[in-house]
Amino acid sequence: MSPLDDLGTFLVHAVVLEDEAASRYDELADTMEVHHNDEVAALFRQMAAYSRLHLNEATAHAAEHAGGLPDLKPWEFDWPGTESPESGQAESSHYLMTPHHALRLALAAEESAHAFYAGIASHARCEQVRKLAAEFSAEEAEHAEALKEWLTRYPKPSRAWDEDLDPPAAGD
């Protein structure tokens, strides 16, 4: 039996997944602001705001849960990877990244969250968990589709997108 078969444990995962996604987007937005990439910073800030809307939804579900929620330490979560699935690949960010790259990063995060919920929806033994996971999975799939549509407005940039004739961190 997976720990995620328990409704309370599942809800804590859902809340933390959205919270960490929002935090990661804010972290990326802060980094882009520091490096004067304001366009991408604004995009990441917008993503953080969307994640907080979803966080509120998950929190509302959790608040309705009569049994209370388990107090899990960060390392006790049952994530498929080393971080919560919607946290994104922060290491693939770049100070000159374009909206195309930012949307790609966000799309990968949404698809990862979708796969996480879809897996639970198809395997969980608890019916309530399956139902909620299917609902969240469908939402993540919608977000992914919206991002794909958004990406059509930001095609892949030229190969020289990261060229900087006066880089802030040039080698010795």
Partner: protein, 281 residues
């Protein structure tokens, strides 16, 4: 009144440990993961920020104290451990954590590292190891591979064997030795928690990629693996390190022993200290 749903769970509280300063690290730097892991560890232990002191030297990773709400001291290059040692013995009620990089800790502060291991004062030392001097723009550091040719200062490589931090710590007498990875912040938070709770000198080498000067380190994610099984047997720990490929993670050695504590029973006044320096003609 706030109409948003309110839910208090411990896992959300780690943000409360961060300061309002935005890190100036490069986008994608591994040190972001260390900051997240450290704040998660402090939240998991429910340690109030005013009971934590972060001490650093110089370097990209040594900026970390400024990005938290705990007490911080950004000192001289390579001297995080002497400052942390003084603070830990004079204010034992604080959780003292020294942070820095491989150059700061193993080169400029290398001698302090050895003696901190042997002295065993109750503090935690987190070294963010990226095998390069990042702040000064990409020179080889003590942990750089002998054949790395990425620096114009050593275009044929350094031809020097890299420093082995875990082996050195074990040989010098450190009672808690671990390695973790910045891209696995939850596991890193666990190891940091164990290190802070350990009664003595706890050393954690954190593999923290420098994506600017060592972009190939992005592939560390594929190479890092769980490997160490904690032991209190020094011989077993050495054997584990002999078999180590440099990417094993976990606690390799944990063997509590008596901490160094100066005798504070005899209180001395400032006047008495001053009297000792009086010149008698």
């Amino acid at each position: 009144m706030n109409s948003e749903p309110q839910l208090q769970i411990q896992a959300l509280a780690h943000k409360d440990y961060k300061s309002a300063y935005k890190p100036v690290w490069c986008a994608g730097c591994g040190d972001f993961g260390v900051l997240n892991a450290l704040t998660k560890a402090l939240a998991a232990m429910e340690l109030p920020p005013e009971q934590v002191a972060l001490i650093a030297g110089i370097g990209c990773s040594s900026r970390l104290p400024a990005y938290t709400r705990a007490y911080g001291f950004h000192g001289v290059h390579g001297r995080a451990l002497p400052v942390a040692t003084g603070l830990a013995v004079s204010r034992p009620e604080l959780a003292v954590i020294a942070t820095g990089g491989d150059g700061d800790g193993f080169s400029i502060g290398g001698n302090h590292f050895l003696h901190a291991c042997r002295r065993n004062v109750n503090l935690t030392y987190l070294v963010m190891d990226n095998a390069v001097y990042g702040m000064t723009k990409g020179q080889a550091s003590p942990t750089t591979e002998a054949d790395w040719t990425g620096s114009k200062l050593a275009p044929q490589g350094t031809h020097q064997q890299p420093f082995q931090p875990l082996e050195m710590a074990l040989a010098a007498g450190a009672p808690f030795i671990a390695r973790a990875f910045s891209n696995a912040p939850n596991e890193l938070a666990h190891i940091i928690t164990e290190a802070i709770q350990f009664p003595g000198f706890a050393f954690v080498q954190v593999l923290s990629p420098c994506i600017t000067f060592r972009p190939e380190q992005m592939h560390w994610k594929k190479r890092v693996h769980e490997g160490f099984v904690p032991t209190a047997d020094r011989r077993e720990a050495f054997m584990a390190l002999m078999d180590d490929d440099g990417f094993s993670t976990g606690i390799v050695y944990r063997a509590p022993r008596e901490c160094y504590r100066p005798d504070t029973a005899k209180a001395v006044t400032l006047a008495e200290i001053a009297a000792g320096f009086e010149v008698v003609s």
